[in-house]
Subunit: 156 residues, 2 copies
DNA sequence: GAGGCTGGGTTGCTATGTCAAACCCTGATA
DNA sequence: TATCAGGGTTTGACATAGCAACCCAGCCTC
Protein backbone atom coordinates (compact mmCIF):
# COMPACT_ATOMS: atom_id res chain seq x y z
CA UNK A 1 0.00 0.00 0.00
CA UNK A 2 1.16 3.49 -0.75
CA UNK A 3 0.01 6.24 1.57
CA UNK A 4 1.13 9.79 1.92
CA UNK A 5 3.44 11.58 4.23
CA UNK A 6 1.68 14.23 6.18
CA UNK A 7 4.85 15.08 8.02
CA UNK A 8 4.92 18.71 7.02
CA UNK A 9 1.27 19.18 6.22
CA UNK A 10 -0.70 22.34 6.84
CA UNK A 11 -1.98 21.07 10.15
CA UNK A 12 1.59 20.89 11.39
CA UNK A 13 2.38 24.31 9.98
CA UNK A 14 -0.72 25.79 11.56
CA UNK A 15 0.11 24.18 14.90
CA UNK A 16 3.65 25.54 14.80
CA UNK A 17 2.02 28.95 15.06
CA UNK A 18 -1.10 28.46 17.14
CA UNK A 19 -0.47 25.07 18.77
CA UNK A 20 1.56 26.17 21.74
CA UNK A 21 0.00 26.14 25.16
CA UNK A 22 -2.07 29.31 25.81
CA UNK A 23 -1.95 30.59 22.22
CA UNK A 24 -5.51 29.64 21.38
CA UNK A 25 -6.75 31.22 24.59
CA UNK A 26 -4.95 34.43 23.69
CA UNK A 27 -6.71 34.36 20.33
CA UNK A 28 -10.04 33.65 21.96
CA UNK A 29 -9.63 36.80 24.03
CA UNK A 30 -8.56 38.75 20.98
CA UNK A 31 -11.83 37.73 19.32
CA UNK A 32 -13.74 38.71 22.45
CA UNK A 33 -12.20 42.16 22.28
CA UNK A 34 -8.99 42.14 24.32
CA UNK A 35 -6.30 44.39 22.93
CA UNK A 36 -3.95 45.33 25.71
CA UNK A 37 -1.36 43.32 27.59
CA UNK A 38 -3.12 43.65 30.92
CA UNK A 39 -6.47 42.63 29.45
CA UNK A 40 -4.97 39.47 28.00
CA UNK A 41 -3.16 38.80 31.25
CA UNK A 42 -6.28 39.11 33.38
CA UNK A 43 -8.51 37.08 31.13
CA UNK A 44 -6.20 34.38 29.86
CA UNK A 45 -4.63 33.79 33.26
CA UNK A 46 -1.19 32.68 32.14
CA UNK A 47 2.16 33.92 33.42
CA UNK A 48 3.26 37.33 32.15
CA UNK A 49 6.45 36.08 30.54
CA UNK A 50 4.55 33.37 28.66
CA UNK A 51 1.97 35.89 27.51
CA UNK A 52 4.72 38.22 26.37
CA UNK A 53 6.30 35.37 24.41
CA UNK A 54 3.02 34.26 22.81
CA UNK A 55 2.04 37.75 21.76
CA UNK A 56 5.47 38.23 20.18
CA UNK A 57 5.14 34.92 18.30
CA UNK A 58 1.69 35.84 17.02
CA UNK A 59 2.90 39.27 15.95
CA UNK A 60 5.90 37.61 14.28
CA UNK A 61 3.58 35.40 12.24
CA UNK A 62 1.27 38.33 11.48
CA UNK A 63 -1.70 36.84 13.28
CA UNK A 64 -1.74 39.92 15.51
CA UNK A 65 -0.32 43.35 14.85
CA UNK A 66 1.17 45.72 17.41
CA UNK A 67 -0.43 49.11 16.96
CA UNK A 68 0.70 52.26 18.81
CA UNK A 69 -2.02 54.39 20.41
CA UNK A 70 -2.16 57.25 22.89
CA UNK A 71 -4.85 58.12 25.38
CA UNK A 72 -5.11 61.77 26.46
CA UNK A 73 -2.66 62.51 29.26
CA UNK A 74 -0.96 59.18 28.80
CA UNK A 75 2.22 58.25 27.05
CA UNK A 76 2.16 56.23 23.87
CA UNK A 77 1.38 52.57 24.30
CA UNK A 78 0.78 49.57 22.08
CA UNK A 79 -2.15 47.30 21.57
CA UNK A 80 -2.54 43.98 19.81
CA UNK A 81 -5.10 43.61 17.08
CA UNK A 82 -6.12 40.68 14.93
CA UNK A 83 -4.98 40.89 11.34
CA UNK A 84 -6.90 39.42 8.43
CA UNK A 85 -4.86 36.24 8.89
CA UNK A 86 -5.80 36.22 12.57
CA UNK A 87 -9.49 36.85 11.96
CA UNK A 88 -9.47 33.94 9.56
CA UNK A 89 -8.80 31.66 12.53
CA UNK A 90 -12.29 32.29 13.89
CA UNK A 91 -13.62 29.26 12.04
CA UNK A 92 -11.18 26.94 13.82
CA UNK A 93 -11.81 28.63 17.15
CA UNK A 94 -15.58 28.33 16.90
CA UNK A 95 -15.28 24.72 15.72
CA UNK A 96 -13.28 23.93 18.85
CA UNK A 97 -15.66 25.88 21.05
CA UNK A 98 -18.71 24.09 19.72
CA UNK A 99 -17.00 20.72 20.15
CA UNK A 100 -16.25 21.67 23.75
CA UNK A 101 -19.85 22.73 24.27
CA UNK A 102 -21.22 19.57 22.80
CA UNK A 103 -18.97 17.04 24.51
CA UNK A 104 -17.59 18.71 27.61
CA UNK A 105 -20.25 21.30 28.22
CA UNK A 106 -21.53 22.61 31.48
CA UNK A 107 -25.15 21.87 32.42
CA UNK A 108 -25.52 25.62 32.76
CA UNK A 109 -25.05 25.97 29.00
CA UNK A 110 -22.29 27.57 26.97
CA UNK A 111 -20.33 30.40 28.56
CA UNK A 112 -20.03 32.25 25.29
CA UNK A 113 -22.06 32.24 22.13
CA UNK A 114 -20.95 33.72 18.86
CA UNK A 115 -23.73 35.56 17.06
CA UNK A 116 -24.32 36.98 13.62
CA UNK A 117 -23.78 40.70 14.12
CA UNK A 118 -26.53 41.65 11.70
CA UNK A 119 -29.37 39.46 12.98
CA UNK A 120 -28.28 38.08 16.38
CA UNK A 121 -28.72 34.43 15.49
CA UNK A 122 -26.04 31.99 16.67
CA UNK A 123 -23.23 31.25 14.28
CA UNK A 124 -22.55 27.65 13.32
CA UNK A 125 -19.61 25.91 11.70
CA UNK A 126 -20.34 23.28 9.11
CA UNK A 127 -18.31 20.90 7.06
CA UNK A 128 -19.87 20.69 3.64
CA UNK A 129 -19.26 19.47 0.14
CA UNK A 130 -18.07 22.28 -2.12
CA UNK A 131 -20.13 20.81 -4.96
CA UNK A 132 -23.66 20.36 -3.66
CA UNK A 133 -23.10 22.29 -0.39
CA UNK A 134 -24.74 19.59 1.70
CA UNK A 135 -23.54 19.39 5.31
CA UNK A 136 -21.26 16.42 5.99
CA UNK A 137 -19.90 14.42 8.90
CA UNK A 138 -16.57 12.60 9.21
CA UNK A 139 -17.85 9.37 7.64
CA UNK A 140 -18.87 11.21 4.49
CA UNK A 141 -15.29 12.29 3.87
CA UNK A 142 -12.07 10.72 2.69
CA UNK A 143 -8.54 12.20 2.69
CA UNK A 144 -6.42 12.26 -0.46
CA UNK A 145 -2.80 13.19 -1.08
CA UNK A 146 -2.65 16.67 -2.58
CA UNK A 147 -0.28 18.16 -5.12
CA UNK A 148 2.31 19.02 -2.50
CA UNK A 149 2.47 15.52 -0.99
CA UNK A 150 5.30 13.05 -1.20
CA UNK A 151 4.27 9.45 -1.77
CA UNK A 152 5.68 7.07 0.82
CA UNK A 153 5.21 3.36 1.34
CA UNK A 154 2.97 2.60 4.29
CA UNK A 155 2.74 -0.84 5.85
CA UNK A 156 -0.65 -2.61 5.63
CA UNK B 1 -18.25 47.98 31.58
CA UNK B 2 -19.26 44.48 32.39
CA UNK B 3 -17.76 41.68 30.34
CA UNK B 4 -17.77 37.98 30.87
CA UNK B 5 -15.30 35.56 32.25
CA UNK B 6 -14.26 33.01 29.73
CA UNK B 7 -11.93 31.41 32.21
CA UNK B 8 -13.50 27.99 32.05
CA UNK B 9 -15.13 28.25 28.67
CA UNK B 10 -15.50 25.43 26.20
CA UNK B 11 -12.40 26.45 24.33
CA UNK B 12 -10.39 25.85 27.47
CA UNK B 13 -12.14 22.57 28.13
CA UNK B 14 -11.55 21.42 24.57
CA UNK B 15 -7.89 22.43 24.77
CA UNK B 16 -7.44 20.53 28.02
CA UNK B 17 -8.11 17.42 25.93
CA UNK B 18 -6.71 18.16 22.49
CA UNK B 19 -4.46 21.16 23.14
CA UNK B 20 -1.31 19.35 24.20
CA UNK B 21 1.61 19.20 21.85
CA UNK B 22 1.26 16.34 19.31
CA UNK B 23 -2.37 15.56 20.14
CA UNK B 24 -3.82 17.18 17.05
CA UNK B 25 -1.27 15.42 14.87
CA UNK B 26 -2.28 12.10 16.41
CA UNK B 27 -5.89 12.91 15.55
CA UNK B 28 -4.94 13.93 12.04
CA UNK B 29 -3.37 10.52 11.50
CA UNK B 30 -6.40 8.84 13.04
CA UNK B 31 -8.55 10.59 10.43
CA UNK B 32 -6.13 9.55 7.70
CA UNK B 33 -6.53 5.94 8.77
CA UNK B 34 -3.84 5.16 11.35
CA UNK B 35 -4.95 2.71 13.99
CA UNK B 36 -1.91 1.03 15.45
CA UNK B 37 0.78 2.32 17.74
CA UNK B 38 3.55 1.83 15.20
CA UNK B 39 1.58 3.60 12.48
CA UNK B 40 1.02 6.62 14.68
CA UNK B 41 4.66 6.56 15.73
CA UNK B 42 5.98 6.48 12.17
CA UNK B 43 3.66 9.13 10.82
CA UNK B 44 3.40 11.54 13.73
CA UNK B 45 7.11 11.42 14.49
CA UNK B 46 6.99 12.09 18.22
CA UNK B 47 8.76 10.16 20.96
CA UNK B 48 7.20 6.81 21.89
CA UNK B 49 6.53 7.73 25.50
CA UNK B 50 4.79 10.93 24.48
CA UNK B 51 2.68 9.05 21.95
CA UNK B 52 1.81 6.50 24.59
CA UNK B 53 0.75 9.27 26.93
CA UNK B 54 -1.32 11.11 24.31
CA UNK B 55 -3.13 7.98 23.18
CA UNK B 56 -3.97 7.17 26.81
CA UNK B 57 -5.29 10.68 27.36
CA UNK B 58 -7.44 10.52 24.25
CA UNK B 59 -8.77 7.09 25.23
CA UNK B 60 -9.43 8.44 28.74
CA UNK B 61 -11.54 11.24 27.27
CA UNK B 62 -13.28 8.86 24.87
CA UNK B 63 -11.97 10.57 21.76
CA UNK B 64 -10.34 7.29 20.78
CA UNK B 65 -11.23 3.78 21.86
CA UNK B 66 -8.84 0.90 22.36
CA UNK B 67 -10.20 -2.09 20.48
CA UNK B 68 -8.72 -5.61 20.65
CA UNK B 69 -8.14 -7.38 17.35
CA UNK B 70 -6.30 -10.47 16.21
CA UNK B 71 -4.67 -11.18 12.88
CA UNK B 72 -4.33 -14.86 11.85
CA UNK B 73 -1.20 -16.36 13.40
CA UNK B 74 -0.70 -13.33 15.63
CA UNK B 75 -1.49 -12.75 19.23
CA UNK B 76 -4.21 -10.38 20.26
CA UNK B 77 -3.33 -6.72 19.92
CA UNK B 78 -5.10 -3.41 20.33
CA UNK B 79 -5.85 -0.64 17.93
CA UNK B 80 -7.06 2.90 18.44
CA UNK B 81 -10.20 4.04 16.68
CA UNK B 82 -11.99 7.34 16.61
CA UNK B 83 -15.23 7.41 18.57
CA UNK B 84 -18.20 9.55 17.61
CA UNK B 85 -16.77 12.26 19.87
CA UNK B 86 -13.45 11.95 18.09
CA UNK B 87 -14.95 12.03 14.60
CA UNK B 88 -16.78 15.18 15.58
CA UNK B 89 -13.38 16.91 15.80
CA UNK B 90 -12.95 16.70 12.04
CA UNK B 91 -14.52 20.11 11.60
CA UNK B 92 -11.89 21.75 13.82
CA UNK B 93 -9.11 19.76 12.17
CA UNK B 94 -10.13 20.73 8.66
CA UNK B 95 -10.61 24.35 9.70
CA UNK B 96 -7.03 24.38 10.96
CA UNK B 97 -5.75 22.58 7.87
CA UNK B 98 -7.40 25.02 5.52
CA UNK B 99 -6.07 27.96 7.50
CA UNK B 100 -2.60 26.44 7.22
CA UNK B 101 -3.06 25.95 3.48
CA UNK B 102 -4.26 29.46 2.95
CA UNK B 103 -1.70 31.33 5.03
CA UNK B 104 1.30 29.06 5.39
CA UNK B 105 0.86 26.89 2.32
CA UNK B 106 3.51 25.39 0.14
CA UNK B 107 3.74 26.57 -3.48
CA UNK B 108 3.35 22.92 -4.41
CA UNK B 109 -0.21 23.01 -3.10
CA UNK B 110 -1.83 21.27 -0.15
CA UNK B 111 -0.33 17.96 0.97
CA UNK B 112 -3.71 16.54 1.83
CA UNK B 113 -7.19 17.29 0.65
CA UNK B 114 -10.33 16.08 2.32
CA UNK B 115 -12.99 14.99 -0.15
CA UNK B 116 -16.66 14.16 -0.07
CA UNK B 117 -16.67 10.36 -0.18
CA UNK B 118 -19.76 10.21 -2.35
CA UNK B 119 -18.79 12.67 -5.09
CA UNK B 120 -15.08 13.39 -4.70
CA UNK B 121 -15.41 17.15 -4.41
CA UNK B 122 -13.27 18.92 -1.81
CA UNK B 123 -14.82 19.47 1.57
CA UNK B 124 -15.00 23.01 2.94
CA UNK B 125 -15.63 24.44 6.39
CA UNK B 126 -17.84 27.45 6.66
CA UNK B 127 -18.97 29.72 9.41
CA UNK B 128 -22.57 30.64 8.78
CA UNK B 129 -25.59 32.18 10.38
CA UNK B 130 -27.99 29.55 11.71
CA UNK B 131 -30.91 31.72 10.62
CA UNK B 132 -30.35 32.56 6.97
CA UNK B 133 -27.42 30.15 6.43
CA UNK B 134 -25.33 32.77 4.69
CA UNK B 135 -21.55 32.31 4.98
CA UNK B 136 -19.89 34.72 7.42
CA UNK B 137 -16.46 36.06 8.28
CA UNK B 138 -15.13 37.26 11.64
CA UNK B 139 -16.36 40.82 11.21
CA UNK B 140 -19.94 39.61 10.76
CA UNK B 141 -19.91 38.04 14.22
CA UNK B 142 -20.07 39.19 17.81
CA UNK B 143 -19.54 37.16 21.00
CA UNK B 144 -22.11 37.17 23.80
CA UNK B 145 -22.04 35.72 27.29
CA UNK B 146 -24.04 32.50 27.37
CA UNK B 147 -26.22 30.97 30.08
CA UNK B 148 -23.26 29.35 31.80
CA UNK B 149 -21.19 32.54 32.04
CA UNK B 150 -20.34 34.51 35.16
CA UNK B 151 -20.52 38.25 34.82
CA UNK B 152 -17.33 39.99 35.84
CA UNK B 153 -16.31 43.64 35.77
CA UNK B 154 -13.88 44.39 32.97
CA UNK B 155 -11.88 47.58 32.80
CA UNK B 156 -12.62 49.93 29.89
C1' DG C 1 12.74 67.62 41.31
C1' DA C 2 11.57 63.63 44.45
C1' DG C 3 8.49 60.39 44.70
C1' DG C 4 4.71 57.55 43.28
C1' DC C 5 1.73 55.32 39.84
C1' DT C 6 0.76 52.52 35.76
C1' DG C 7 1.21 49.67 31.68
C1' DG C 8 4.10 46.61 29.86
C1' DG C 9 7.17 43.96 30.21
C1' DT C 10 12.15 41.08 31.91
C1' DT C 11 14.82 38.13 35.22
C1' DG C 12 15.80 34.15 37.92
C1' DC C 13 14.59 30.17 40.15
C1' DT C 14 11.86 25.88 40.42
C1' DA C 15 8.66 22.46 38.49
C1' DT C 16 7.00 20.11 34.76
C1' DG C 17 7.17 18.30 30.06
C1' DT C 18 9.83 16.54 26.01
C1' DC C 19 13.41 13.80 23.53
C1' DA C 20 15.96 9.77 22.22
C1' DA C 21 17.66 5.59 23.14
C1' DA C 22 17.72 1.59 25.67
C1' DC C 23 15.15 -1.74 27.81
C1' DC C 24 11.16 -4.95 28.78
C1' DC C 25 7.22 -7.97 28.15
C1' DT C 26 4.21 -11.11 25.65
C1' DG C 27 2.77 -14.45 22.60
C1' DA C 28 3.91 -16.67 17.97
C1' DT C 29 7.16 -19.10 15.19
C1' DA C 30 11.57 -21.95 14.01
C1' DT D 1 15.11 -23.01 23.65
C1' DA D 2 15.93 -19.14 21.16
C1' DT D 3 14.21 -15.53 18.27
C1' DC D 4 11.21 -12.01 16.67
C1' DA D 5 7.81 -8.25 16.34
C1' DG D 6 4.44 -5.16 18.20
C1' DG D 7 3.63 -2.32 21.76
C1' DG D 8 4.91 -0.23 24.97
C1' DT D 9 7.95 1.68 29.83
C1' DT D 10 12.20 3.50 31.95
C1' DT D 11 15.99 6.55 32.20
C1' DG D 12 18.55 10.63 32.12
C1' DA D 13 19.60 14.91 29.64
C1' DC D 14 17.49 19.01 28.02
C1' DA D 15 13.69 22.56 27.09
C1' DT D 16 9.61 24.94 28.39
C1' DA D 17 6.21 26.73 31.81
C1' DG D 18 4.97 28.81 36.18
C1' DC D 19 5.52 32.25 39.66
C1' DA D 20 7.15 36.09 42.05
C1' DA D 21 10.02 39.72 42.18
C1' DC D 22 12.00 43.27 39.79
C1' DC D 23 12.63 46.99 36.19
C1' DC D 24 11.74 50.98 33.37
C1' DA D 25 9.73 54.92 30.94
C1' DG D 26 6.70 58.56 31.01
C1' DC D 27 3.16 61.06 33.31
C1' DC D 28 1.20 63.35 37.56
C1' DT D 29 1.38 65.35 42.21
C1' DC D 30 3.46 67.69 45.83
Amino acid sequence: MVGFSAEHCSVKRALDIVGEKWTFLVLREAFYGARRFEQFHERVGCARNILSDRLATLVGHEVLERVPYREPGQRERHEYRLTEKGRDLLTALVALMHWGDRWEGDEAGPTVEVLHRACGSPVEVVLRCSHDHEPLTAVDTVPRAGRGARQVPVSR
